[in-house]
Symmetry: C2
Subunit: 498 residues, 2 copies
């Protein structure tokens, strides 16, 4: 691959990227092995690297390399993509004044502390003022970086480049209309999920089985590893060094197992980036929505399918012969797919999950449009929960305070969870057409055909194509909520005999 | 502590130090958890940080802050120490041209690869040319940074600031004269160390016992941790985050245990640096020799003492009741103190260890004085082994090729191992005078009085005083080989009934 015409730009990008990757290693250690006494120094070191990375990205030299690359004649599509992505990152870095960046960092640091306290004491007021301040500053950020439609678009764009309220509204509306009726039909069904997981599932054995599954998904352990953490995530320092994390709950093996399959979905994406574009502006996952499509497809569409368990139930019984003695495929399959409205997003099933995102999306949109105030959020939250899921949380900690995101200034992030489900279902429909006997092969424990298809169509190109273009190339269609709705209607219609 | 007059310098130092500490985190991970596929990217990231740190340290701004601090009136001793240490590091950074730094990095990278191959195939010729090149470049470094006595001094000074051939020669000469006769007397003794360690010592139990001992030494596990590695080391990212590493050999529990005690000696030093000077030019261990005095004092003087085991033998028997059934204190004590000439430095006992360093010191000195050529090293090595230890290695891999250091350009490093033994014995003599019933208390498992004495006299001041001044303040004397010689004569005279 020739990148001769953008060589100087790629060199400068590499220098910037080295610092950000180094910082990610510090952050990984912070979440896995850092002793308590090292917390303060660690945040100093991470800030220092963030400052250096920002300097490099916003520097005149970077800008000059970019300009000179843009003037070159005869650029290849890949070179044009590199310039596009470098410009995008550079502009964001130069457009937000350093004073504002520092102000936000402080507000978020205070916000995070306030949120922790508010969450643990179930007291919204402790956090409300901090949140208002963060939203105020984030509106200024939107003004600095600019947007075509509404201010909220500027934040959506950070995590899902190109996404706008105009594009997302109809997608979320489709889900919002179709899901509550399905949830109600399920609630009326006479079929109920049986209890399959009883007793204690030993820590080490859970990890052993999870590791086996992840390896059979095609995750390469010479290029990655698994460690323990409180809030699992996946991070990549290079396609040759991808770290999955997980947590283990001894009376519920689903947490570790589905958590690992989920993170390994992310991990396969990171390991699958084409080596030729690594350490360039396009050598990264294209968006959080596409990233989440990989994790949720593996976790739910594959990992909670009947075919998957027709192969893996006998396998997991070898690891837990006593604990799962007598468990039948139908029961096991039902137990990992129970649908029931619940308060907490991270524990939601496949059907109700998106409604949790709809709720947050509508609130974020209205906050940034100035239609609602942070002081009104608890009441709005509960009203929307009632409307969408038919339930009302008893405490703010399992309601409006449940997520850490807003305290960290992460607005526009939640919709990517929703997009992941949609992208995932759409890619899955095409994969089923492209890969002969895909589900039958999964039923034999053959997971690599899917991994290879995803690698080719999703992982390898990195940011060569924007997300919508990537999807169009892979599936021939633009993003729609229909494949997802077809998928849940079919799967849960059958499961609950609707 | 006021550092108002050197504030700008301290701020710039902090920015430099953040990058070096970040790099140390990457290096720790490289030796503990890095998957094979991440090696190449990791070395790119580490080089990037090294480049940034060098830029910061050598920058005009750093130089200007230094100059301006030096001009201030009424500097406190601590401020003067900060300036002294900052100037020392700054000068080294500006005096070595970047082209030479890059040339050396390449030569060392090639050297390391050649050494690995030479070591594994027992073939000196593969490495000889690379070593000659490294020595040639290192001589140029000495010319760049300057020295008063001989070129080798410039390299000694990196690891042991202020150390010179003129100072070290008589110390090493004293050891070289006194040790071989002692070794010969021991060899003629009728007393022989009994075999105490039989069978298999379970991995997890070894770590559990080692952790217990280290904790009782006063190592604070809220400010540090233990991980596994191939070549154990200790590293510090902050006094609140000190990492020990160890390895476990199931048929010899001494490797893990004494290794951990050794690294914890280093770790206590790092944890003990006064918080008020952290992230300043004096907030670091003063020299590798002093560092090694801490590890070797804990490992050998304390950890291999009869008093220590009079307390810990019953303890370790609780962990390994079957494996150590019937082991008697005298036998156990003898088994961890056996003296016997051996080929490999890292496996040498307390008495012969220094001779291994004498050998390397003499070779390094002669190489840098141009008196010998790298091609002659195997013959010279074997002749010196014969002269000093009375044995000749059968292969180069257990002879001249045994250490990795030269392939990494680490000349002037070995003498710090020797200095550690000397400093350690001298500090130990004073500690015995200062701390009432010190050895009796160790016999009761009370290790904290020694930790506290070392913290006050050695750890807390960091680089406030140069090593020789630190030693004089702690012991009232300049460095001498006599305390060490008294210590080994007494301990091994008794043990071998000489």
């Amino acid at each position: 691959m020739s990148t001769e015409r953008v060589k100087d730009l790629v060199v400068r990008w590499g220098e910037y990227e080295d610092v950000t990757r180094a910082s990610m290693i510090l952050e990984w250690d912070q979440e896995t092995y850092l002793p308590q006494g090292g917390a303060e120094a660690r945040s100093t070191h991470i800030s220092a690297l963030a400052g250096i990375a920002h300097e490099k990205l916003a520097s005149r030299n970077f800008g000059a390399a970019l300009k000179s690359a843009e003037k070159r004649k005869g650029l290849t599509p890949k070179e044009r993509a590199m310039i596009r992505e470098a410009r995008r990152e550079h502009l964001r870095a130069v457009r937000i004044p350093e004073a504002l960046v520092r102000e936000i960092a402080k507000a978020e640091s205070r916000g995070l502390m306030a949120w922790r306290k508010a969450y643990s004491t179930n007291n919204w007021r402790i956090f409300a003022g901090n949140l208002a301040e963060i939203v105020r500053l984030k509106k200024r950020v939107a003004d600095c970086v600019g947007y075509k439609g509404v201010a909220y678009d500027a934040h959506l764009d950070v995590f899902e480049p190109g996404a706008t309220v105009q594009q997302l509204d109809p997608l979320l509306e489709g889900i919002k209309e179709a899901t509550p009726p399905l949830v109600r039909r399920i609630a009326r069904s006479k079929r109920k999920a049986p209890k399959v997981f009883r007793g204690r599932f030993a820590h080490a054995k859970q990890l052993e089985f999870g590791r086996k599954v992840v390896e059979e998904m095609g995750f390469d352990f010479t290029k990655g590893r698994i460690d323990l953490t409180t809030h699992p995530f996946c991070t990549s320092f290079d396609p040759g060094d991808v770290r999955l994390t997980t947590r283990v709950v001894e009376d519920d093996p689903r947490v570790c197992l589905f958590g690992l399959i989920h993170e390994a979905g992310h991990g396969l994406y990171e390991q699958g980036i084409d080596r030729a574009i690594v350490r360039t502006p396009v050598g990264h996952p294209v968006s959080l929505g596409i990233h989440e499509s990989q994790s949720r497809m593996w976790e739910n569409v594959v990992g909670r399918s009947r075919e998957f368990w027709s192969h893996y139930l006998p396998e997991i019984k070898k690891t837990f012969p006593d604990e799962l003695r007598g468990a039948k495929l139908d029961d096991f399959y039902f137990a990992v797919n129970e649908v029931t409205p619940s308060f907490v997003r991270t524990e939601a099933d496949e059907v109700t999950y998106n409604l949790h995102v709809v709720l947050r999306y509508e609130i974020e949109k209205d906050l940034f449009a100035g239609k609602i105030k942070t002081s009104e959020l608890p009441a709005i939250w509960n009203a929307k929960m009632k409307q969408l899921l038919g339930i009302v949380p008893k405490t703010h900690s399992e309601g409006v305070l449940q997520d850490i995101h807003w305290s960290m200034g992460l607005f526009g992030y939640f919709p990517t969870y929703f997009l992941g489900n949609l992208y995932g279902a759409q890619l899955w429909e095409t994969a089923q057409k492209d890969i002969p006997r895909l589900t039958a092969r999964i039923g034999k424990g053959q997971l690599l055909p899917l991994r290879d298809w995803l690698r080719k169509h999703v992982h390898a190109p990195g940011r060569t194509y924007p997300a919508n273009e990537l999807l169009r190339r892979a599936t021939g269609e633009t993003l729609s909520s229909q494949p997802f709705l077809r998928y849940v209607e079919s799967k849960f219609g059958e499961l609950y005999a609707l």
